[in-house]
């Protein structure tokens, strides 16, 4: 049911109960109606002022932009007249060594957050009951998180997505390093696969018949059991990215038609109930369960049926929490995931597979789990056991170590120091705790630096991913975001 932005107040002009002691009821009704009409006019004028105010603000912003543009044009004009072709230094080195022109594509982010609500809707919203003041209980919590976040957390999905992106960048970098090391070892026996020349011709062929019919190449190729990474690479061009960013941020100025005003918070991957053309969806879903594809180091047997990405694209866009109900990492991935896992036990479910891909090839069930799997959908579930300890955006490191970290160091040292010395065990435990606290603090600081800049996060991750799949893919990560 759509929410009305501005509701003119006395909705029914004449529906009022008449006081019983009146003799001329008809006149009474008339007078009441007239009074209500005046009230309606009052609220109408208030809303009219609001409407014109919004339009005015927008127009004012445009006016300033136009002015600056005009000034720039004037300056350019002057400069151009001063250009003298003979004076210009043209050297071959200059052409190649100078940095190429990069257009700064600004895109909107954080569009549908609470602060960006229009004022009348905010007023309507404020008439609702506020949530119970659970934050008064926060002082009694040991892990220092806000108690209200367990009840209702508006920033939950964004934080989830942000964590996942950051984690993904880390994992991709790790994997890259590992990949390089392995590559160095195995260079000799392997036949070198020369890089395929990337051309857009294929893409344009597909677009030739009409953009609506574009079936992303991955679906075709993956059905043939090709190496997922190649399909992933080729789809990764600025057009594809723009499509995805078009679906990330429904900006009116985006080059491709945005799929429609779906109300999404910044976390693009999870909530994408879009029935957009295939490409956007594919792109998107490729990004989230993206670990299987970049994972395959060239040496893992490609010819083998590389289980493909086609199943994942469908599930991830629809309700993510349910779709990603705890994907128990396939058994083969159990032991190794623990290194990255200590802090993010369950969300690393997707990251570990890439690490493991070198070891155990098929991550078929992985794709479904590829997305951000909050353990059970209910937000940071009253949390000790499950991971979420570092999930919340306001994880205060101060409040003492997470009780969750307690069980972890314990099993390890507990196994060791049984007979040797209880004091050693205690020391080890204490050190473990201290280490974790410091680490937590450092991580938290790092996270604070990032802020809520979707753009930076995404672009960093995409860059890392691109450069992982191909070494010279810098041409594709050229998007910058801002609001």
């Amino acid at each position: 049911m759509p929410l009305v932005t501005r509701n003119i107040e006395p909705r029914h002009v004449s529906r009022q109960t008449i006081p019983t002691n009146i003799r001329s009821e008809l006149e009474c009704v008339t007078n009441i109606s007239l009074a209500n009409i005046i009230r309606q006019l009052g609220s109408l004028s208030k809303y009219a002022e609001d409407v014109f105010g919004e339009l005015f603000v927008q127009a004012g912003a445009f006016a300033t932009r136009v002015n600056t543009l005009g000034e720039r044009v004037d300056r350019l004009q002057v400069k151009v007249t001063q250009l003298d072709p003979k004076e210009e230094e043209v050297s071959l080195q200059a052409i190649t060594t100078r940095k190429a022109f990069r257009s700064s594509l600004t895109q909107d982010q954080q569009m549908f957050t609470r602060p960006s609500l229009p004022v009348p809707v905010q007023d309507t919203y404020s008439t609702c009951n506020p949530p119970p003041p659970l934050n008064q209980l926060s002082q009694y919590r040991e892990d220092g998180r806000e108690a209200l976040k367990f009840y209702t957390d508006p920033s939950y999905f964004f934080d989830l997505w942000k964590e996942k992106m950051l984690q993904d960048t880390k994992d991709i970098m790790k994997e890259k390093r590992k990949h390089r090391r392995e590559k160095k070892d195995n260079v000799n026996p392997r036949t070198l696969h020369p890089r395929k020349i990337k051309t857009r011709k294929d893409e344009w062929e597909r677009l030739k018949m009409g953009k609506e019919f574009v079936v992303p190449k991955n679906e075709i190729s993956s059905s043939e059991g090709l190496n997922g990474s190649i399909g992933f690479d080729e789809d990764f061009n600025s057009d594809g990215f723009e499509q995805s960013t078009g679906s990330y941020a429904y900006e009116s100025g985006s080059p491709l038609p945005p799929p429609g005003p779906d109300d999404i918070l910044p976390p693009p991957p999870p909530d994408m109930p879009i029935s957009d053309g295939g490409p956007a969806q594919q792109r998107l879903s490729l990004l989230s369960p993206s670990h299987p594809p970049p994972a395959p180091p060239a040496m893992s047997p490609p010819p083998g049926s590389r289980p493909n990405l086609s199943p994942p694209p469908a599930p991830p866009p629809p309700p993510p929490p349910s779709g990603f109900a705890p994907p128990p990492p396939p058994p083969g991935f159990d032991a190794p995931p623990s290194p990255p896992a200590p802090y993010f036990p369950s969300p690393p479910a997707p990251p570990p597979p890439p690490d493991m891909a070198g070891v155990a090839p098929p991550p078929p069930p992985m794709p479904t789990g590829g997305g951000p799997p909050p353990p059970p959908p209910p937000p940071p579930p009253p949390g000790p056991p499950p991971p979420a300890s570092d999930y919340s955006a306001a994880p205060p490191a101060g409040g003492g170590h997470a009780p969750t970290s307690a069980p972890k160091p314990q099993p390890a040292p507990a196994g060791d120091g049984d007979g040797d010395g209880r004091s050693d065990l205690l020391q080890a435990i204490r050190q473990g705790f201290n280490l974790r606290k410091v680490e937590a603090q450092r991580e938290q600081e790092k996270r604070d630096h990032f802020g809520n800049d979707v753009a930076a996060i995404l672009s960093r991750r995409i860059a890392v991913e691109c450069s992982d799949s191909e070494d010279d893919s810098s041409e594709f990560d050229d998007d910058e975001w801002s609001e």
Binding site: I37, L44, Q58, L69, R72, L76, S103, Q109, D453
Partner: protein
């Protein structure tokens, strides 16, 4: 009966007149509200087109500036802002 009808009739007549008056006013209020809505929508769409044109212009100008600036080839840094 005639005497009774007169004042009642008069009253009812008066009431009908009042109602018509009120009806006129409320329908004009609705027209105003309609006008406001459509004005808002059309204004927003025009402003959006303007915005697109402005962005396109801005990009072109950036490119031209980069081409024209000889000694200092502009290196555009990503603009992160909210």
């Amino acid at each position: 009966m005639a005497g009774q009808e007169d004042p009642v009739q008069r009253e009812i007549h008066q009431d009908w007149a009042n109602r018509e008056y009120i009806e006129v006013i409320t329908s004009s209020i609705k027209k105003i509200a309609d006008f406001l809505n459509s004005f808002d929508m059309s204004c927003r769409s025009r402003l959006a087109t303007l915005n697109e044109k402005l962005t396109a212009l801005e990009r072109r100008i950036e490119y031209i500036e980069a081409r024209v600036s000889i000694g200092t080839r502009l290196t555009l840094c990503p603009v992160y802002s909210k």
